[in-house]
Symmetry: C2
Subunit: 420 residues, 2 copies
């Protein structure tokens, strides 16, 4: 169990309260001091003093509000300073690469995505292409006085401690030290952090998308593979080493097909994009255009396409029923390609949940498509990159980092401090 025997000294409390203020500004955007008092529960004098500290370090700006013609002195508006606080978000998906420069309240300043052919591609090639994209969205040097961090979403299993990509079957990668390689290619000394794309999709949907305000969320996404990001009681499920959430590899049909993971009848072998395409008579590697063709055929009433979408919907519901019984989630968010399929599989999925999930948790759960579309993992990478600042802004005031407050995204790749 978590060590619950650790007491709090006043310096710990000060750091936690600075974190509370910065998190509020990150989540809500500019707020008046009065709103900060109301939202954080801190006293007026504590807010004034902490905002003063952050201001002196250049992390926030205070501006006079637009006069409203009301009596009394209006409360100054506080915001994180975009010139000091922004992040770079990167994504390595199976058939695209993306980069975004993102501001302190999650606003996208510049975003570029390029399609790329599927199949194996050397790490060096991907890293170089991604670095080019990064410089396109964030011209100029990537230094700590302008950039808080770099977050990378990758379609693979990532070790939390050091960001090692243990395996990314659809990229053909094994044991890739992506943190170091990316930092070197970007020629940056700011922290680089790497995480799984579905975990980051869940994080983004929770903070700014379809799952805002929900504490218990199951996010499922997929292109070629099927991944998951799970929020339990407000916190991302990571597991002992960060490998958790691989819901594409739960055994749903032990007499089923061989999975590329080496097992048999994994969920992915029944609901992955390749299955839909193959059953509908398309090339299994046809990607987005082929999926669009299948959906057009479904709309046209084509029986082969209808049977294919029914198969995927049914197995999607079967697996989700098991996950509902395990997690008792409030919300299931269909992300990645499943967001595109949502209108076509919705009723089948709901029927399987009715048939197979336990009555008690079934009655509580709602299924909804992702709100952030295909950019969810990229926006999650931005959240990942800013997390160290949110957890301990005091470290940006020239003091040593302290313990995180433990209430946001889990601690991330420890040696993102590795610099080219």
């Amino acid at each position: 169990m978590r060590d619950v025997e650790s007491g709090q000294r006043s310096e710990t409390v000060r750091r936690a309260n600075l974190s509370t203020i910065v998190r509020a500004l990150h989540a809500r955007g500019p707020l008046s001091r009065s709103e900060l008092v109301a939202r954080t529960g801190l006293t007026r004098s504590a807010v004034r003093s902490h905002v003063g500290e952050l201001d002196a370090a250049g992390l926030v700006r205070e501006e006079a509000p637009t006069p409203l013609g009301l009596p009394g002195r209006p409360s100054p508006i506080v915001s994180l300073d975009r010139d000091r606080v922004s992040v770079l978000a990167l994504e390595i998906a199976v058939d695209s690469l993306a980069a975004a420069h993102v501001g302190p309240a999650g606003e996208v300043i510049e975003l570029r995505r390029i399609d790329r052919a599927r199949g194996r591609m050397t790490v060096d090639r991907v890293v170089a292409d991604l670095a080019d994209l990064a410089h396109a969205v964030h011209p100029g040097p990537m230094e700590p006085d302008a950039l808080v961090g770099v977050g990378v979403a990758v379609a693979g299993v990532v070790r939390r401690d050091d960001g090692l990509v243990r395996t990314a079957p659809n990229l053909g990668w094994t044991d890739v030290p992506l943190v170091e390689q990316m930092a070197r290619a970007l020629e940056t000394s700011v922290p680089v952090t790497v995480a799984n794309e579905a975990d980051l999709g869940a994080l983004a949907e929770s903070r700014r998308g379809a799952a805002m305000g929900a504490d218990d969320v199951l996010f499922i996404s997929g292109e070629v593979g099927v991944g998951g990001g799970i929020i339990v009681d407000g916190r991302p499920l990571a597991g002992a080493a960060g490998y958790g959430g691989e819901i594409g590899h739960i055994p749903v049909n032990p007499s089923g097909a061989a999975c590329r993971c080496g097992s048999i009848g994994c969920w992915e072998t029944e609901i992955g994009e390749g299955v839909l395409l193959r059953l509908a008579g398309q090339s299994a590697s046809g990607g987005r255009p082929a999926v669009d063709a299948v959906l057009a055929a479904v709309e046209g009433g084509d029986p082969v396409a209808l049977a294919a979408i029914d198969h995927v919907g049914r197995w999607l519901g079967i697996g989700l029923a098991g996950l509902v019984n395990i997690f008792d989630p409030r919300l299931i968010v269909l992300g990645g390609r499943f967001a595109r399929l949502a209108p076509y599989v919705e009723s089948t999925v709901e029927a399987e949940l009715d048939r197979r999930a336990l009555v008690a948790p079934r009655g509580l759960v709602r299924v909804t498509p992702a709100a952030l579309g295909e950019d969810a993992p990229l926006l999650g990478a931005a959240e990942l990159a800013i997390e160290p600042l949110l957890s301990d802004p005091a470290a940006w005031l020239g003091q040593r980092p302290d313990q995180a407050d433990g209430s946001g995204f889990a601690p991330t790749n420890a040696d993102w401090r590795v610099v080219a």
Copy 2:
């Protein structure tokens, strides 16, 4: 997401630090003031002042230590006072009822368990029998000056907010307001809290059993049904309403047998006790003696019994592989009847994990039998009952309850305050 925008005022910190001290004494038993300083990270003066408050309220005792012949003044030994701080733990299992009077550091003062025949039994009958057992282990009135609370473990799906037993198929119960009925039968004004037996088994094994010190734990238990208790990053997984952890009802074989939950091919239909007994040629409702007979036949090399135990071991491994991929746990604890089966299924389970779990999480996980045996849920009920005191001891000092510190067992049945 959890509200992370809540700041900390000094009163909150004081309450959290009182909680830290009481948790340490609960977890470790009597500690010297010096040990409390070392374990909690609080200053010597904070420990002195907080222990003084707890002492004045009669919650702790301070005693001079046994002299060691060392120079200097020895540090007084602090312990929770058993005369003020004890709990009553109750269990409603499918084939037994149990009650225990448990002291402030988890020590069993008195425990009784009685076997009962399986099958439907009225709630009134069970509650009356349990109340008799309770009075046998804790003679005298059950009042707040002696008893902190009553915890009840039940073989069913329990709503966290009010302890309603939504369904307990093996007892034949639906929507039973067990909190109120138990409080009335015990004629007590202390809080009664109800939770699922597997969740409580996991809690007990985490705090005092096979999973001590592990943050990511999967506990599986079963008699007739199969249940689970899951610890994620040091916290019990509850789900949106407390229904989480029903791992017996993940679909592993959709062309398999009908499950008593209404679905098809749930994990329980392949690894439940009835399956083992039926395949081994015993009556499916034979219970513990029949299981013992099967295991004796396995030891004697009986091929039918060997095939039966192999079936259960193989399917146990298949389902656990999926859960390893989802949770990336450090430890899988085999509880309930599975603890008894452990030596006979161990190698089959390990082989299926090798074959089916992803390499990265597979390499980290260890499978081990439960340490607390069949009493794990009962001891977990004791932990449940004492949790309000651990979370906010200040409420016992005559002040209103404040927010819990959030680092222990989740908040429990809100209207345990219901009194007969």
